[in-house]
């Protein structure tokens, strides 16, 4: 029994589909990291927006798996992290905490959205907000530990500049997820 999906000796259609969904959303996260949209104070990338959608549409486990795939591609050295970075060094560097937080954030956010049968907009925004908080938590922790910043300084450089952008992304992702869920029933 695997953590992410059940294993059958002969793979069923659903399990192949789950695999493909997770890897394509991992790829989409990587592609999203390249798309910059200018927004004061710091430009935003679509990376976490696609993370929210992956977790909301695929659920906690598959959402987290898609982010693990994204991280593995990055660790292998492909320049898929924000700003064209790649390699294990980025993950272990000062800003690597956010990337590790992606997996945890996607898992929790997906799980939260699995609780109600048909999540509405407020619940959607709350769950994505919690996911974002978890990403910040990991990010700030690593900033403190690796870059040796104090807590207040870490929050100043690692959370405050991104608040507006992330609020926009959470709202956009909630609206998009609701719209997509209305039209498409995902089978996994």
């Amino acid at each position: 029994m695997c953590f992410f999906y059940e294993q059958h000796p002969m793979k069923t259609r659903a399990s192949i589909r789950r695999m493909v969904y997770a890897s394509l959303f991992g790829a989409a996260t990587a592609a999203g990291a390249f798309i910059m949209i200018p927004l004061p104070p710091v430009p935003i990338t679509l990376q976490t927006l696609i993370l929210y959608l992956a977790a909301a549409l695929l659920g906690g486990r598959l959402g987290a798996l898609s982010q693990i795939i994204y991280l593995i591609i990055g660790i292998m050295g492909f320049p898929v992290f924000a700003g064209g970075k790649g390699g294990l060094g980025v993950l272990m560097g000062p800003t690597g905490g956010y990337l590790i937080g992606f997996v945890a954030g996607a898992y929790v956010l997906g799980k939260l959205l699995e609780i109600p049968k048909a999540p509405q907009l407020p619940w959607m925004i709350c769950a994505m907000g919690v996911g974002t908080l978890i990403i910040y938590l990991f990010g700030v922790a690593q900033l403190i530990l690796v870059a040796r910043l104090s807590l207040s300084k870490a929050i100043m450089v690692g959370v405050l500049p991104f608040l507006i952008g992330d609020a926009v992304k959470v709202t956009a992702a909630s609206l998009a997820a609701l719209k997509i869920k209305k039209h498409i029933r995902l089978s996994p």
Binding site: F3, M10, K11, R13, I16, M19, V20, Y21, S23, L24, F25, G26, A27, A28, A30, A31, F34, I35, I37, P38, L39, L46, L53, L57, I69, Y70, I72, I73, M76, G77, F78, P79, G83, G84, K85, G86, G87, L88, G89, V90, M92, G93, P94, I144, L145, A147, R148, L149, K153, V157, V168, K169, A172, A173, L175, A176, K179, I180, I184, L186
Partner: protein
């Protein structure tokens, strides 16, 4: 257009090495670099300088790999320069901010550290093709198969994702152009307008990603994926050169770790107390 990875086809000793050894070496070196010990960092710098002519890649691709990191390096350097307490540097007493010797040292040192990490990772991707890398990861994860980690599926997922990053990137760019032509504005207007513009970009992209995934799943099933055990086209095997490299790397890493621990570093640098 954007190029995925920077694999350079050359006929060199480094290229011919078993990819598994290269991956493990990069991980070992990264850990060594993160110890933050000047002696080991000089050792690794020397090692990379030896590797450069051996791998026959030339200096240009390394410059290209470092280019996107320049802003990050500058940010890191100045962050430490301006925000470290210590003895102030005399020539600049009249400035609003005080620059300190400690700040200069930590800034330069941390930048050096991350420069090494980036160059090490760049060497791996320059000398190893993506399919070799995926094959090596599959082989390295195989021992975890008993714990329920499907290593062949993971490898398949990685290669799928790698294959689709450029495709999706192109798709996003095309959708962005299409929506701009229809009046969406991504870089002007209030927050509400941008929100709408972003949704108009993301919705079509996600829908087409899902559509692609469905088609791909059907295609894989039609070709019998998962119908039994998979075998590799080229099974990795260690040759004499690989054993030599492995021994050298082992000695190098061993020496590095010895230096670090004898200089009083804790086992894991991250948990050492911030000064």
């Amino acid at each position: 257009m954007y190029r995925m990875g920077q694999y350079l086809l050359r006929d060199s000793r480094v290229h011919q090495l078993d990819p598994r050894i290269k991956i493990v070496s990069v991980i070992l070196m990264s850990i060594l670099v993160l110890y933050g010990e000047p002696v080991t960092q000089s050792m690794i710098t020397l090692f990379l300088m030896v590797l450069l002519p051996l791998s026959r890649t030339g200096i240009r691709p390394i410059q290209q790999a470092l280019k996107p990191m320049l802003i990050f390096f500058a940010f890191l350097f100045f962050l430490h320069l301006f925000f470290t307490h210590g003895t102030p540097i005399p020539p600049f007493p009249s400035w609003r901010v005080t620059l300190t010797y400690e700040g200069l040292y930590t800034g330069a040192f941390t930048t050096w550290q991350f420069l090494l990490l980036v160059v090490t990772a760049a060497f791996l991707t320059m000398t190893t093709s993506p399919s070799e890398l995926v094959g090596a990861i599959e082989r390295l994860l195989r021992p975890f198969k008993r714990m329920g980690l499907p290593s062949d599926d993971v490898a398949m997922m990685i290669s799928l994702a790698l294959r689709f990053v450029p495709t999706l990137l192109e798709e996003i760019a095309r959708t962005r152009d299409a929506q701009t032509a229809r009046g969406a504005r991504f870089n002007q207007g209030g927050i509400l307008q941008r929100l709408r513009a972003i949704s108009s970009l993301v919705l079509p992209v996600i829908l087409s990603t899902l559509r692609r995934a469905d088609a791909l799943a059907v295609a894989m099933e039609a070709r019998g994926y998962g119908g039994g055990d998979r075998t590799m086209l080229q099974e990795l095997s260690l040759r004499r050169a690989d054993y030599v490299a492995m021994t050298l790397m082992g000695l190098f890493a061993g020496a590095g770790f010895m230096t670090c621990t004898s200089l009083g570093q804790t086992l894991w640098p991250v948990f050492s107390q911030p000064s």
